[in-house]
């Protein structure tokens, strides 16, 4: 394999953004007929390096060769002409266009959407996708958008394919489907690069891994010759422990009690169907379920952001006094000490203001605290600095606008702010979406710290392994109903998996 000429050869690539050195003399070989996993912590320069292949950024130094010939990629059209197709971390789709319009965008020739739709259907059939060419993008779910992106690249006949964290927003089932397609393409002789933070994905899909650390290339090797621990150590630069703590809950008492909560969405579909459970203080309660099973609605109902059709949600104070939350203003609920941290699929769209800097984004939570007319700027600034330290957020300073940060670092800001801000109850969903392993573990630590302080944590996650290691109890949802409540220490993946797909699972 080694004698093959690499499809892409990047040599001594350096890229700076002002004072930030995003890539420093990076080397990279990408081969045809192989899937390469590009690994690295958040902000280590993976996206930047790939963007230089796709023509979005232009390298300050270094050379790029395609099939052994040195090339200059000055803009995206050069990259497209070389057969390089990239699926970006944040979707590159025009919301008001249909799938077909998005797919043919930028191609030469007469505009013939009928013919395009026919070709799109053909591609979908061949690879087993489900795309409606006439559907508008704003009507699509995240995974549908992702599919459109993939079809777009295939439609152009790209044979060097780059996917920047395509699985961050996909469910495990969707991910499996995507991987089947990628294997298909690899066997077709295409070169595939995938960026992901999930080690088990790296092990299942890739043939080779390349690792970046703080903008430096630290090496590449065949996937079969390495393991998660070694890769993580190379990414972080020191040995890291891949274990999640689970301290025994202490002094646990009921904090939030749900009784027969029923919620319908705007279209009148039943999202939660008579859900009942109790969340205890000093405990991490996991919520498991196939995505879209009502997890979002559940958290929003507790936070007062979602109208509840029937049932009751009560907040129980230390002295046992019940306080009904339904019908309360979200602000009042927050005042009770309930914090919601929901990491949306579209990270910048919700919860953060891209143009504001870190400490101002912290202030979005606390601007009401302050004397009289004035808001308190000092505390948020302090909090931002602490967060940067503790979560190792890669940023030139706390005065940097959030949109400049790398995808994962944006998210650390969002999650950090909410988690550090939960006096009594912490509702968190997909907290580690798009975070590198090291930061994910930091977040788990942070959650455990809150738990030990007596906070009742409700944790919605996709990764079953994590749920099983982190949570004291797990509520399994299935189609909006509670399929069962299990003890995190005693159950296993199979049991929870079965309960997720079938009410009550197989064990009952």
């Amino acid at each position: 394999m080694e004698e093959k000429i690499p499809a892409v050869m990047m040599r001594d690539i350096t890229k700076r953004f002002g004072s930030v050195l995003a890539n420093d003399k990076c080397w990279l070989n990408i081969y045809r007929g192989e899937v390469l996993a590009l690994l690295g912590e958040n902000g280590s320069g993976k996206t930047t390096l790939m963007n230089m292949l796709s023509g979005i950024y232009f390298p300050d130094e270094g050379t790029i060769s395609i099939d052994g010939k040195e090339v200059t990629i000055a803009d995206p059209s050069d990259a497209l002409a070389l057969g390089i197709g990239m699926i970006h971390q944040h979707f590159k789709l025009v919301d008001v266009f249909t799938a077909a319009q998005n797919i043919v965008l930028g191609l030469p020739g007469k505009l013939d959407l009928k013919e395009a739709s026919r070709k799109i259907r053909e591609i979908c059939e061949r690879y087993g996708f489900d795309v409606d060419p006439e559907q508008k993008v704003f009507d699509m779910s995240v995974s549908q958008k992702q599919t459109v992106e993939i079809v777009k690249v295939l439609y152009r006949g790209a044979d060097i394919l780059i996917l920047d964290e395509p699985t961050a927003v996909l469910t495990p089932q969707e991910t499996e489907k995507l991987f089947a397609v990628l294997r298909n393409m690899r066997d077709d002789g295409k070169a595939v690069v995938i960026i992901t933070h999930k080690m088990h994905e790296v092990e299942s899909i890739s043939d080779r891994v390349a690792i970046l650390r703080k903008g430096h290339f630290t090496g590449d090797m065949l996937t079969k010759d390495t393991n998660a621990q070694e890769m993580t150590n190379m990414m972080v630069g020191r040995p890291v422990e891949l274990n999640i703590d689970r301290p025994e809950p202490e002094d646990s008492r009921p904090r939030i009690e749900l009784k027969d909560v029923t919620v319908r969405d705007e279209e009148g579909l039943l999202k939660l169907d008579h859900v009942s459970f109790t969340a205890m203080s000093g405990e991490v309660l996991g919520i498991a379920g196939i995505s879209g099973c009502g997890q979002k609605e559940l958290l929003e109902a507790i936070a007062g952001l979602q109208p509840v059709e029937e049932g009751s949600i009560s907040y129980i104070e230390d002295d046992g006094k019940h306080e009904e939350l339904i019908g309360k203003d979200p602000l009042d609920i927050k005042k009770l000490g309930v914090a919601l941290s929901f990491v949306p699929e579209d990270r910048l769209g919700m919860g953060l203001v891209g143009n504001m800097d870190l400490s101002d984004n912290m202030m979005l939570r606390s601007y009401r605290n302050g004397k009289g007319l004035f808001t308190n700027r000092k505390d948020p600034h302090h909090l931002a600095e602490m967060m940067v330290d503790f979560l190792e957020i890669v940023t030139p300073s706390v005065e940097t606008p959030v949109r400049r940060l790398s995808g994962g670092n944006v998210q650390k800001v969002l999650v950090g702010r909410e988690i550090s801000n939960a006096p009594k109850v912490l509702l968190t969903a997909y907290a580690t979406r798009g975070l590198d392993i090291n930061s994910s573990y930091t977040i788990y630590d942070l959650i455990n710290q809150q738990k030990q302080r007596g906070v009742a944590v409700i944790y919605v996650g996709e990764d079953l392994d994590v749920l099983l290691e982190l949570c004291d109890r797990i509520v399994v949802l299935c189609g909006g109903k509670v399929s069962g409540i299990v003890d995190g220490r005693k159950t296993d993946k199979n049991e929870v998996g079965a309960m997720m797909t079938k009410l009550g699972g197989v064990s009952e």
């Binding site: 953004f17 497209l80 970006h88 590159k92 025009v94 008001v96 930028g106 949109r403």
Partner: protein
């Protein structure tokens, strides 16, 4: 009875400058450039035409070539408008200056430029009235179809206009066709909606922004030319054009960025503009003044209603007013 047969042609003539301004601004905005300089560009289009016509009328004396009589002012108007478009693009696209500020500055600049040259020409002709009169050019511009008069009310309502009016309608229809049916239109819209996506798809964002803004400026500028040469019968007086440029910008929102809709919408606004002349108000001048407010009141109401629009297709281009730089995120 309300005299529709004479009202409609006047409304159309009022509407044509708005239509041109609106079409020009719509295609500009489709590229993501919010050009508030349109009012100034229409001024410059007008005065450039006037300068051309003035020079030619004086140079040619009595023997005016009918072709040049039209071509020279037209060409001057186009050049003047393109220059304004280029200034706007250079500032906002190349230097990435704030679009609102640039547009407002351009309007102030355009109106000032118009008044400056207008004033100078008025000084040159040394008349008592504060205006330049270009009767012969105007006659060439406002020539209508010869048989229109013979067709009664039909001729009067549909055929009694000069060529620029028909050009305005054709341009609006053409713009609508290009935007909705062609690849160029698709690419242009993608630039205004999401330049990052357009760029990643290999579309030259800067070129699209420059080209459409300049073409849009020319179309708007023609509105200014039509106003002086046809509507005002070749009489330029300072500030006579008024606030039509701003109405054109408001019309863009009213028509939800659809040039084909702008044809009827501008005629409607043209009608509102002159309503006060056609509704008998007797001697009570106060009421007349209230009627004069009609276009502005309708504009306010329309802006309120259209800002309540929720449908995704009816929103402004998503990246309207934002400058784009590939390496910025």
């Amino acid at each position: 009875m309300f005299d529709f047969i004479s009202f409609i042609p006047r409304a159309v003539m009022q509407g044509v400058p708005l239509m041109l301004g609106c079409t020009g601004e719509t295609i500009t905005e489709k590229s993501g450039n919010l050009n508030l300089g349109t009012a100034g560009i229409m001024y410059v289009g007008g005065i450039s035409g006037v300068i051309g016509a003035f020079l030619y009328e004086n140079a040619a004396g009595t023997e005016m070539n009918p072709f040049l009589t039209i071509a020279i002012p037209l060409l001057c108007c186009i050049v003047g408008s393109i220059l304004m478009g280029l200034i706007y693009c250079f500032l906002t696209v190349t230097l990435r200056a704030n679009q609102n500020v640039t547009g407002l500055a351009l309007t102030t600049f355009g109106v000032g430029l118009g008044n400056f040259f207008g004033g100078s020409l008025i000084k040159l002709v040394k008349t008592d009235i504060p205006s330049v009169v270009l009767t012969r050019t105007s006659q060439a511009f406002s020539r209508t179809l010869p048989f229109a008069d013979r067709l009664g009310w039909f001729g009067k309502i549909f055929l009694s206009y000069s060529f620029l009016a028909y050009v305005a309608i054709a341009l609006a229809l053409f713009a609508s066709f290009v935007l909705n049916r062609t690849r160029t239109g698709l690419e242009l819209r993608s630039v205004g909606e999401n330049p990052g996506t357009a760029d990643a798809a290999g579309i030259n964002v800067v070129r699209y922004k420059y080209l459409t803004t300049c073409i849009g400026s020319v179309v708007s500028g023609l509105g200014g030319l039509y106003y002086v040469m046809d509507y005002a019968s070749g009489v330029w007086s300072n500030n006579a054009f008024g606030d039509r440029g701003w109405l054109a910008i408001a019309l863009v929102i009213f028509t939800i960025w659809r040039p084909s809709v702008s044809i009827l919408a501008s005629i409607l606004f043209g009608g509102l503009y002159i309503l006060n002349v056609y509704i008998p108000t007797g001697t009570n001048l106060a009421i007349k003044e209230i009627y004069k407010m009609a276009p502005y009141i309708v504009t306010i109401v329309v802006l309120v209603i259209s800002s309540m629009q929720k449908k995704r297709e009816n929103q402004p281009p998503a990246a309207l007013g934002l400058s784009y730089f590939r390496e910025e995120r």
